[in-house]
Symmetry: C2
Subunit: 324 residues, 2 copies
């Protein structure tokens, strides 16, 4: 059991440093280094950690040891190890590795889907549904994901109706969560709130909604707040804000886990995560990668009145009630 | 008349690169360089530009030529040159320099006020009221400002009631705008929305509210969105996000003008400002300062579908109505 596993949580953060964060990095992390990060994230209070993806090892060499990593990580009470699956072959590997939870996803963008998966959106959805069904049949917990749901780097605008239709087909398969991904970091808060409200209305309370946000254009945390307003209580983030295409100068990846936690706790939402405990971990990642990471709060001094490790007592005057 | 001065605007951005941005920089900008930035900001569509402050030249050498700069800048239709005044001596200089608009401000934090102005909050307010009255009597447009209104780097929490009381004393003097400053970048969106709503209710529609936001902890743009929700339509920002204490590693200053404009335009709010025209200006500032600036959007590639210079047509599906 990790230190904070007893603390009730209002918002769940899934850390994707080991998957979305690392997947484009040329410097390959060893299995031992990945284990170190996974365990340290859990110790800091992360309750769901995406450790990799079951994609073709030739295409994404950094993810080649996801099977081995899944087998290496011990069960920890209060912590869910999860991974990304994009097709039937990936599911076979994930099931063999014994992970209790999976993200299984498709793209809502025609051009992104064709480039990434060599098929259009319609075929992508048609092929992923039986994969989800099979995973569910084995008892694995599944969240179904929609990539490029808020915009596409190749074609721009993605019609919300298309996203809602895909979500509807996922909900029919008894998934516990549907993940809306702003894969290219193109969303704005108005759009996020509007799409999430439409989805919540369409799907009802039986399916949880989660948001996967990137901070490419500086709107990541504002989009998180917009998601909160629309009732979203699960967000993906990556330690340090690692991610983004390495061929794009200054491109940034996921919202930084420590920044998301800091923002939420400041607003009075409990995450169970100690953002101050993430600071040395950001430093460790920066030293392994040989460069600074874009996350903000790990790089500013802790104000003198901040209470280290205190993740449950909101500041007076920053009442959580107002956020609800 | 600048290129965009005819475009109706929903939100006014005041750029403070030349004041809050530069004031802590050791590298002194020449008068010619300052003129270059002021004019380029106006050409990009900025309608209010804070060019400096009338503080003691020995204390802030970078601001020593504010008088000369004010005299050098020609009138431009649709553009307001403004500066910061903190006391009676500063007002004398500002009036002599002939500026049509001034920000006159005090701190709401006891410790910040004592360190910065050598007096407590109560005395600070008592002394600034006649300065504001005198400025108003000369016909100068005044916005009255409250520093550290959302938190203080030295003492943390600032009671909203204190901020509201100061605002009330300003409103009694017929100022046209009251500026709420998150001087140390400590605010969160819940707090911003709550304080701005309380102030709007207290002050009524005759006084405009504006927000001065810093992005020190990554919440700057989220706080802007929170301010918008509470009805604020004027925001301070600085080109490139310049600012912050030079002795704090990675500390960042104001929200970046280009990021604020981008965020607003993405949500369908018209600013009259072409954020793409600000990109080369950020590059110029970085080359003069010899380092990268924290603003985000100037450093990512323009997506292929973005229309250069188009500041009036919101993207379909990103309707401005939803933001209101």
């Amino acid at each position: 059991m990790t230190a904070n596993a007893h603390i009730p949580v209002d918002v769940l953060i899934e850390d994707e440093f080991l998957r979305d964060g690392l997947q484009n990095e040329a410097r390959l992390f060893t299995l031992e280094e990945k284990v170190e990060f996974a365990q340290a994230l859990a110790r800091a209070g992360l309750r769901r950690i995406q450790i990799g993806s079951f994609v073709h090892p030739g295409r994404v060499p950094q993810m080649a040891d996801t099977d081995a990593l899944a087998r290496r990580l011990e069960r920890l009470e209060g912590v869910t190890w999860t991974a990304l699956v994009l097709n039937a072959t990936g599911l076979d590997r994930a099931l063999a590795a014994g992970l209790p939870h999976l993200s299984i996803s498709v793209s809502a963008s025609e051009s992104h889907s064709r480039r990434n998966a060599n098929r259009g959106v319609e075929e992508g959805v048609r092929r992923i549904l039986p994969v989800i069904e099979r995973a569910r049949a084995t008892g694995v917990r599944v969240r179904a994901g929609i990539q490029c749901a808020l915009g596409c780097a190749f074609e721009g605008y993605i019609p919300p109706d298309r996203v809602i239709a895909i979500a509807r087909s996922f909900a029919a398969l008894d998934v516990e969560e549907i993940n809306i991904a702003d894969t290219a970091g193109l969303a704005n808060p108005v759009q996020v709130e509007s799409l999430c409200r439409a989805l919540a209305e369409e799907l009802g309370p039986k399916v949880a909604l989660s948001l996967h946000l990137h901070d490419t254009r500086g709107l990541g945390i504002a989009n998180l707040v917009a998601g909160l307003r629309a009732g979203v209580r699960i967000f993906d983030a990556a330690l340090g804000g690692l991610g983004g295409c390495p061929f794009v100068p200054d491109a940034t990846g996921n919202i930084a886990t420590e920044d998301a936690v800091f923002a939420l706790e400041e607003m009075g939402w409990r995450t169970g995560i100690d953002w101050q405990a993430l600071r040395p971990l950001v430093g460790r990642a920066e030293s392994l990668l040989g460069r600074g990471l874009p996350g903000r709060i790990a790089h500013v001094p802790v104000p003198p009145w901040a209470r280290p490790g205190d993740v449950s007592e909101p500041d007076p005057g920053k009442g959580r009630e107002a956020a609800r």
